[in-house]
């Protein structure tokens, strides 16, 4: 039920932000459509830990900040490689260990890998993620383990609270 309310609140915020027309008629259309979507979502039974991952909580924001810094760092690395006249690349397929227990956690980890330029997820297996890495530096297993650990901790947040 909390998830339904949260979805309703998120949709209402989205509607208010995108509309810009706050007359009673238009507002009532907005309320109607929000309620309609929440009812459909409830009927489809998609308001679970994946559809509405409230369990991640505020830790998600912290993770985003950390990920943002990582993205900037790896962007600078990728940009330097691309612009360097000799283009010192060493493309390779590497296998990163993934310790997440849920699909959601794996998706967060795989997407985080793709978001950092220099590594692209090409296949997700049980316990492993196949990654295409552009250089030796981006194929670093230790750096991947750090990210893996952070995502797993993020995912665990729900078990604690």
């Amino acid at each position: 039920m909390i998830r339904a309310l949260a979805l309703g609140a998120a949709l209402a915020l989205l509607w208010l932000g995108l509309s810009g027309h706050y007359t009673p008629l238009i507002l009532s259309f907005g309320i109607l459509s929000v309620v309609f979507v929440v009812v459909i979502a409830l009927r489809m039974d998609i308001l679970d830990q994946e559809g509405m991952p409230l369990q991640l909580g505020a830790r998600f924001v912290l993770y985003w900040v950390w990920l943002g810094i990582e993205i900037v760092k790896s962007n600078l690395h990728a940009a330097r490689i691309i612009l360097s006249p000799s283009m010192p690349i060493n493309p390779q397929i590497v296998r990163f260990k993934s310790t997440q227990h849920t699909d959601l956690g794996q998706v967060i980890y795989a997407n985080s890998i793709t978001l950092t330029p220099g590594t692209t997820t090409i296949e997700i297996e049980d316990g492993h993620i196949l990654v295409h890495a552009l250089t030796d530096q981006t194929a670093d297993l230790d750096a991947a383990a750090v990210m893996d650990k952070r995502v797993t901790e993020l995912e665990r947040a729900k078990e604690a609270g």
Partner: protein, 117 residues
């Protein structure tokens, strides 16, 4: 507020210009890198820092309001959709049997010349 405006404007243009440079680098990367998989990394530069910086720059062009919210939303959705679509494309290539170019095996066509030149 008015006194701050030129400063905000300058910072905004700094973001826009840096973002554009990263878009350009991404474009150069798309041309220079040897194969499909390597080019996804250049696309990653465009997707993340290129669009990100430009969105931040655009937010500063506007007073805080509905348009700021919409720009945040664009960034938010890109943040989820761009890696997902990258994965879909890369995974499709992998499943279809596309072999990654490497320093040792990929001596076909123009790719190697690009690296050596």
């Amino acid at each position: 507020m008015d006194a701050l405006l030129p400063i905000v404007n300058s910072i905004s243009w700094l973001f826009l210009a840096t973002g554009s440079i990263f878009l350009l680098i991404g474009g150069i990367g798309l041309l220079r890198l040897p194969d499909f998989y390597a080019r996804t990394h250049a696309a990653g530069v465009i997707d993340t820092l290129g669009t990100g910086l430009i969105l931040i720059g655009l937010m500063m062009q506007e007073e805080i309001g509905l348009n700021t919210f919409k720009l945040v939303l664009i960034g938010f959705f890109l943040f989820f959709t761009s890696p997902t679509s990258s994965y879909a494309v890369a995974h499709a290539a992998w499943v279809a049997g596309q072999k990654p170019w490497t320093n040792s095996n990929g001596n076909t066509k123009d790719a190697k010349e690009d690296v050596e030149s």
